[in-house]
């Protein structure tokens, strides 16, 4: 048990504690295999971000569907997937390494770096939505609205205060978390569809308000100053040593780091007693109350923390783009975020990343479908909801059997 807690990463894997592998290669070098799989997936994502021609994008999509089918339907595929689940530390570390390698490779390519940062930032926000929806059990239909609140906060901080810009995302997180706390008061008093209405109403309210008031720029929105850390202004960075680099390079690095930190935080929460408490409160409030768990407390923790992360991601996104408008706060954008969570598999953090990559990037790359983008997207979500209700990567069931004395490790 000590060991397992120290590892911290493999508690909730679906596979049996001692997987009996039939393919010898997997048994002999599991870590190498996991690293190779992650590297392969990231190089696929990297080529996708870089690709210019539509056939390449389509071929990559086909390859992705094929790989997904193999890992889902065949024995060896399932074993590889299970091994990745068992060696999460290796997989996550390799993922960070691959993301950084991609940034180095793309160092002068504005567009690819912008895509990479966008996916990283939206994945961060979607992990936060996961925290709210999958763990705390509160459906947030105003995700994009809170995201934009973070951006507006960053705009105000950079324009009207002398606070160092390094802290703008942090202030965005605090403001968004506080608004979430106020909004939670009505949510806590009710349930289900009644609770959903509160966030929907807030989203519409905020968007309309941002559009009609003049103080925050009305429909034109506001300019946001760039991020800077220890005197290094991200907007001015054009050169590192002998290499000329893209303006987006520092943002890509920062957003990948932010994603990594948030990922570790949420994964730790999920695997700790906090995650267990959240699971109990969500799945059966009555039982949770019987065991003395405070339903309100855990919902507040999950929702406010999730909102703060969304606000931080929004602030960074705003600073990267340099402006914010009320358009991003619409119900449609909130639904897009929520769809990423549901498509990826509610509660599965890497699932959100995969879904974010597909949903944010494929339409950008397939210009010919631009007109039909929303229609195809909606149909895709419907098909997945009907035929794979758990999402692309369903959340593994929490398996605590290894905590029982005598159970095989």
């Amino acid at each position: 048990m000590q060991n397992s807690a120290a590892n911290g990463c493999d508690m909730s894997s679906l596979s049996s504690p001692a997987p009996s592998l039939s393919v010898p290669g997997i048994r002999r070098h599991p870590r190498a295999l996991v690293a190779a799989v992650v590297a392969l997936l990231f190089s696929g994502g990297g080529v996708m971000m870089h690709a210019e021609s539509q056939p390449v994008v389509l071929a990559l999509l086909a390859a992705f569907v094929l790989a997904f089918g193999v890992s889902d339907r065949t024995q060896i595929g399932r074993e590889i997937a299970a091994t990745c689940g068992d060696y999460r530390g290796v997989a996550n570390g390799m993922a960070l390494l691959c993301a950084l390698i991609l940034i180095v490779l793309f160092h002068a390519d504005h567009y690819a770096l912008l895509m990479l940062s966008t996916v990283a930032i939206f994945s961060t926000a979607c992990i936060a939505l996961n925290l709210q929806l999958a763990f705390a059990g509160i459906a947030n239909f105003a995700g994009a609205a809170f995201f934009v609140v973070g951006s507006y906060t960053a705009a105000l901080v950079t324009a009207y205060t002398t606070v160092p810009r390094t802290f703008a995302p942090l202030i965005g997180a605090i403001v968004t978390g506080a608004i979430g706390l106020v909004l939670l008061l009505p949510v806590l008093r009710t349930r289900g569809h009644y609770a959903a209405l509160v966030t929907i109403a807030f989203g519409v309210l905020l968007r309309t308000w941002l559009e009609v008031n003049d103080v925050l720029g009305g429909p034109q929105g506001l300019k946001i100053g760039s991020f800077s850390i220890m005197g290094l202004d991200f907007a001015r960075l054009k050169q590192i040593g002998p290499w000329s680099v893209s303006f987006y390079l520092p943002y890509a690095t920062l957003s990948v780091c932010m994603f990594g930190l948030v990922f570790i935080l949420v994964r730790r929460l999920e695997n700790s007693w906090v995650g267990i408490a959240l699971d109990v409160v969500r799945s059966d409030e009555t039982a949770a109350a019987v065991f003395g768990l405070s339903i309100r407390l855990w919902k507040v923790v999950g929702f406010v923390l999730g909102n703060a992360i969304i606000g931080m991601a929004g602030a960074l996104y705003g600073m990267m783009n340099g402006f914010v408008t009320p358009n991003g706060a619409s119900l449609g954008d909130s639904l897009l975020m929520l769809s990423i969570v549901v498509l990826g598999g509610i509660g599965n953090l890497w699932g959100s990343v995969v879904a974010a990559l597909i949903i944010l990037e494929v339409p950008e790359k397939l210009q010919s479908i631009q007109e039909f983008r929303l229609l195809l997207f909606a149909l895709l979500v419907l098909v997945i909801l009907l035929f794979r209700p758990g999402g692309i990567l369903p959340r593994p069931v929490r398996d605590l059997s290894r905590f029982i004395d005598g159970a095989p490790k």
């Binding site: 929806l133 008093r189 209405l197 109403a201 119900l331 549901v342 229609l375 009907l386």
Partner: protein, 306 residues
């Protein structure tokens, strides 16, 4: 303030209230029989107004129908298209997803709404821009001092009120209405009593969606302009009205609809300069009302099995 202007605003509020109620009643009906929120409802409203526009336009051009007949054709097309959309969505989405988590159903119906909306935008010629709606109602004015109102508006309000009352009578007085209420009360017992549940569910979807499509026609006739994305906000308003009124009852959504319209009108009357804030205030009131009445003003009656 001039009494005429007050009367004018009251009439506007009544008008909006009728339309919101007609949309909200659908939410309450669906929630009653299947415990689901059908979020494509707002886009069914749009579908209704576009079907009416198309049918009235085509039949008017082909057969040179008088406006009254063109209007009837348009209404029939709208209600038919709405009811059909309701049945299709119910059959291929909502019934198969019955056991799924409610977030999946919410998202599925929202996406169905997006499909409808995008289909209208891409399918109708020049569908991305607002379309003028023909004036099919008589165009006289009724004047009383500073109060003046078009005969067409009066007809719309009366028709809407009649329809809302008619729906209520249909659900409370007819045999089919009885089976709707039976399924809503306890679907297992209803099945034991020999009620074809699927028929009732699909019938309810047709009824609610037909009402929404009718509301879409009324909107077109009132504003004389429709656009492919007008359903989004209307759907949210209808949902908000139904939830604030109380999802479990049939009177609740009607109260909620008039309440929402009342708040909007009040904001316009009280702050004529900042009438753009009417939705902001209305939704803020909705959030506060939910905090005060967690299960709607007409509280849902349910017991918790422990």
């Amino acid at each position: 303030m001039d009494i005429g202007i007050v009367a004018q605003q009251l009439f506007n509020g009544l008008m909006l209230g009728v339309i919101y109620s007609m949309i909200a009643v659908g939410f309450s009906l669906f929630f009653g029989v299947l415990d689901v929120i059908k979020f494509s409802h707002g886009d069914v409203v749009t579908l209704g107004s576009f079907s009416a526009l198309g049918a009235a336009g085509v039949s008017g051009a082909l057969f040179a129908l008088p406006p009254a007949l063109a209007l009837l054709t348009g209404l029939a097309a709208a209600v038919g298209a709405g009811a059909l959309a309701g049945i299709v969505i119910g059959r291929i989405l909502v019934i198969p997803l019955r056991g799924a988590p409610s977030i999946n159903v919410l998202l599925a119906t929202l996406m169905a709404g997006t499909v409808l909306r995008e289909a209208i935008r891409l399918g109708v010629p020049n569908g991305g821009n607002p379309k003028p709606f023909p004036a099919l109602l008589p165009s006289g004015m009724i004047n009383a001092g500073s109060f003046s109102v078009g005969i067409d508006s009066v007809i719309i309000v009366c028709a809407g009120l009649l329809l809302v009352v008619g729906t209520h009578l249909f659900v409370t007085r007819t045999r089919f209405g009885l089976s709707i209420r039976a399924v809503a009360q306890d679907d297992e017992v209803a099945r034991l009593a020999g009620i074809d549940q699927q028929r009732v569910v699909l019938g309810t979807f047709a009824l609610g969606s037909g009402l929404a499509a009718f509301a879409g026609c009324m909107l077109g006739l009132y504003y004389r302009e429709i656009s492919f994305n007008m359903g989004v906000l209307l759907g949210i308003i209808g949902f908000a009205s139904a939830v604030v009124g109380g999802l479990g009852s049939l009177i609740g959504p009607i109260i909620g609809g008039f309440l929402f319209a009342g708040v909007q009108t009040l904001v316009v009357v009280a702050m004529p300069i900042s009438s753009a804030y009417r939705d902001v205030v209305a939704f803020a009131v909705i959030i506060i009302l939910i905090a005060l009445f967690p299960t709607g003003i007409i509280a849902e009656q349910r017991s918790e099995r422990v």
